[in-house]
Symmetry: C2
Amino acid sequence: MTPRFDELIHAPTRLSLVSLLAATDWAEFKFLRDSLAMSDSALSKQLTTLEEAGYVEIRKSFIAKRPRTSVKLTAPGHEAFAGHVAALQEIVARAGLAVLPDQVG
Amino acid sequence: MTPRFDELIHAPTRLSLVSLLAATDWAEFKFLRDSLAMSDSALSKQLTTLEEAGYVEIRKSFIAKRPRTSVKLTAPGHEAFAGHVAALQEIVARAGLAVLPDQVG
DNA sequence: AATCAACTTTCCTAGCAGGAAAGTACACAA
DNA sequence: TTGTGTACTTTCCTGCTAGGAAAGTTGATT
């Protein structure tokens, strides 16, 4: 993976958000909000930002007659995240530390 | 090392700066400015911020009859950096787990 | 029609980042 | 003593971003 520092992903809340999304398939709004301890409005705005960047896909549906918003990292989103982690890796490697245990692959 | 996300260190330029300092003993102003491609004023302000946090020690002296500013990470600075990297590891590790429940029924 | 759930958008404020330019400290030249 | 130069430092100003509060939206329920 080519290192590529991504300012959009780097912001604290989005880094956690994207990382969480990278670990799941579709994740629900509530799950994300509670996992990250964010307010509805903050999460909603971050998701819109990520969607506009093409990093997430947002799907709205009605389940059990309630609206449900689900989110998923797109392929470009996964790639940007991996690239950003590689960039972080590169930065901290200078100090002799590592963000990743040991590169697998 | 206890993971501890540090907003002060997380900002892009400071992350690079602290990482660079973590790898050196005393580093000179010019070296940092050129390595990070920052303007004098931007670097000066970031160093002041880090100094106020107790993360760096700044030493001014005259060498070859020219003013010279040297900077070094303090012990708390090293610790905060290591803690922050540990926090990043923790965040990124979530993306490698891939064992969270599928959220959409 | 009123209300509710689950978001979304708007409004507002506070904070940080960076460039430009003015300011400071000390040394040296004249 | 005055002027110049180096090496930063501080101030001024602009622009971007984040987040909470609260109002708005949509479709379902009563």
